[in-house]
């Protein structure tokens, strides 16, 4: 059990679209071991982002269970979801989602503010992580002064600052050119291999998926195959 970070059991998500219902997920069983790098692939509309959002506590399942570190995530409890987002997961988005008015350092330190960690410590940890993602020289730059690749590195540092059990990335290279995309994937791979970071990356790009230890293929809201 200890080596399983995430386990989903019969995960289902039904959306209401006007009068009709759309089943985005229809019973997804997934297990991610500690230190594993998993790519979730599938055509658009297959529900891969939905899985990511459910595991990340940004969305609530219609049915099924999500177990994080051996504890079930109670989707009905808003406080538990906040706690989960704060403590267990870190998000990396396709569009970076940095706050434009904050510097790189402040963006990375931001999540710690909500845990009441003193500013000095927040900044120290942010600097440490920005160094690790190779942005030691960019601490006081604002997102608009950074390239796309640099912005995504800041986003990765921000996702890691709370020391989460799991990093969730939704098309992390989607807004980047190929070279930069590869650099970002190399960084993620490095974090995975050198620091034992558990990764779940949603992508439709086979080149990105190739970095993963294991590829899970989704089709029509169901797990359609494995590789790895």
């Amino acid at each position: 059990m200890d080596d399983v970070v995430v386990r989903t059991v019969g995960l289902a998500r039904r959306y209401k679209m006007g009068d009709a219902f759309v089943d985005a997920l229809q019973g997804v069983d997934l297990e991610i071991a500690r230190g594993e790098f998993v790519a979730l692939v599938g055509p658009s509309g297959s529900g891969k982002s939905t899985v990511l959002n459910l595991i990340g506590g940004l969305d609530r399942p219609t049915a099924g269970e999500i177990w994080i570190d051996g504890k079930e995530l109670s989707a009905s409890d808003e406080k538990a979801l906040t706690h989960h987002r704060r403590q267990h997961v870190g998000f990396v988005f396709q569009s970076f989602n940095l706050l434009p008015r904050l510097t790189a350092e402040e963006n990375v330190a931001l999540p710690l503010m909500f845990s009441g960690i003193p500013e000095k410590e927040r900044r120290a940890r942010a600097r440490e992580l920005l160094e690790r993602v190779g942005l030691a020289e960019r601490l006081t730059h604002r997102p608009t002064q950074l390239s796309g690749g640099e912005q995504q590195r800041v986003a990765i540092a921000r996702a890691l600052v709370g020391q989460p059990a799991l990093l969730l990335a939704d098309e992390p290279t989607g807004n980047l050119d190929t070279t930069t995309g590869v650099e970002i994937m190399r960084l993620l791979k490095e974090l995975n291999q050198e620091h034992g970071l558990t990764l779940l990356v949603v992508t439709h790009d086979p080149e990105v998926a190739a970095f993963a230890d294991r590829v899970v293929r989704l089709r029509d809201g169901q797990v359609n195959g494995f590789r790895g």
Binding site: E78, N97, S115, G162
Partner: protein
């Protein structure tokens, strides 16, 4: 995955207790500090200076109105209380009671039903609980005209008793400025003081040389009957009424003599009594007893205490009414703040989504917006406070200049800002902002993180 789910179920049952504990721990986790909250809120307000400023203007107007109006109330109240207490709340005003005017007696002087006799004056003077007694005779009405003669020159004057003996009738009276000689004593008889206007009109400017000189007040009836009342000039006082009218002041006994001659009635005082009587009691308790005694005898009695109570009540009502106008302005301001905050929530939807994704709780988001709204209120309140205070100072200076110009002998601070007014106004402004922020903040807190993140 039958085995898997089995393991899960067992895992679930054993971990359940842990999970609830953890969940409680989780909710009890250290949360955003107040300092971060305030800094973040200030930062957000700072980014939208125009927005913030404009929505604070409403609060500024409201608080400015309230502070100006309430400080006026406080100032006037203070002045009145000060004036009244300096005169002494133990002072009692007694008036004779006259018959009511009807169609049958409207062209004659009304008869007095209860009069202030010299006996009553003596009785009051004899009491242990009385500090002083001042009877008065009013030399006005009845077409009476009085002239002052010095040597061979005469000038028409207004004759009265010096009200500044005790300023009971005029709490705001400026004490007289003696230009030469001395003031009249309370029991002065055969003496007179005149104002500078009188002497200037007669062509004198060396006032000192006139002190001690024999002068006379002259009464002339419409039928040209003429009577002189010789008096000694003991003092010259600076003209203190606004009219620059020649004036003279004499003691009550002389005033009674003038009046008796005018009405051709040597027993006038016995029959009609004094026109008013001021009794100063030793204490408030004594005053209450004397008031009761005099009322029992049928007098109309006014003690300054009752007057002050009425004044206070009137002022409180005035203050409440004026304050309410400010309250109305604040209500409008609250709507403005709410609108600004709702717009702000809309504009920052994506940001709210990001904050939630990185671990902000709905409570954090709600608090951030409520604090921002409260700060807008406080900011508007501070500016309104200072504005109201300055406006009060300006108005006060203006009023005093006007009084000076009109020669009204009134001085004082009519707009007075107290510590509790500052605290109350700022507190009120903050609470108004906070209340206005509750709904927008709740909307922000309720936002679905996924939808918020998709918002452009």
């Amino acid at each position: 995955m039958p085995t898997g789910s089995c393991a899960c179920v067992t895992g679930k049952s054993t971990d359940l207790g842990d999970e609830t504990d953890e969940s409680t721990d989780g909710t009890a986790l250290a949360d955003m500090t107040l300092r971060d909250l305030a800094q973040t809120a200030l930062g957000n307000l700072g980014r939208h200076k125009v927005h913030t400023g404009l929505s604070a203007v409403g609060v500024t107007v409201g608080i400015l109105t309230i502070v100006t109006m309430v400080s006026l109330g406080i100032g006037v109240q203070r002045e009145i209380v000060q004036a009244f207490t300096s005169v002494g709340l133990e002072t009692i005003e007694v008036r004779p009671v006259t018959e009511e005017r009807t169609v049958f007696n409207q062209f004659t002087d009304p008869q007095r039903l209860v009069i202030i006799t010299p006996d009553l004056v003596e009785e009051m003077r004899a009491r242990d609980d009385v500090v002083y007694v001042r009877p008065r005779v009013f030399l006005s009405g009845g077409g009476m005209r009085v002239y002052l003669r010095i040597g061979s020159e005469t000038v028409e004057v207004r004759v009265s008793e010096p009200v500044w003996w005790d300023s009971a009738n005029d709490p705001f009276a400026k004490p007289p400025e003696m230009v030469a000689g001395e003031n009249l004593a309370a029991d002065a008889q055969g003496q007179i003081i005149v104002n500078t206007s009188t002497l200037e009109k007669l062509g004198y400017d060396a006032f000192e040389t006139l002190i001690g000189q024999e002068v006379a007040l002259v009464l002339v009836t419409p039928r040209s009957d003429r009577q002189e009342f010789p008096l000694r000039l003991v003092g010259v006082v600076d003209t203190h009424t606004g009219t620059n009218y020649p004036g003279a002041y004499i003691g009550v006994a002389d005033a009674a003599a003038l009046k008796a001659w005018w009405y051709n009635d040597p027993d006038l005082l016995e029959r009609n009594g004094y026109d008013s009587l001021t009794v100063k009691a030793a204490s408030l308790n004594d005053a209450a007893q004397i008031v009761a005694l005099l009322e029992e005898r049928g007098f109309r009695v006014e003690s300054l205490k009752t007057t002050l109570d009425i004044a206070n009540r009137t002022l409180s009502i005035m203050q409440t009414m004026l304050g309410s106008i400010g309250g109305l302005a604040l209500f409008v301001a609250a709507i403005g703040i709410a609108n600004t905050m709702i717009m702000s929530v809309y504009e920052r939807t994506r940001e709210i989504g990001i904050l939630k994704a990185v671990g902000a709780s709905p409570g954090n988001i709600r608090l951030l917006f409520v604090v921002e709204a409260a700060l807008i209120g406080l900011l508007g309140g501070i500016v309104g406070m200072i504005g109201g205070w300055l406006l009060g100072l300006g108005l006060n200076a203006g009023i005093l200049t006007y009084f000076d110009y009109m020669d009204v002998p009134l001085r004082g601070t009519f707009f007075f800002v107290t510590g509790w007014l500052v605290a109350l106004a700022l507190g009120f402004a903050t609470v108004v902002g906070l209340l206005a922020g509750l709904y927008p903040a709740a909307r922000a807190a309720r936002l679905d993180p996924l939808e918020a993140l998709r918002h452009e």
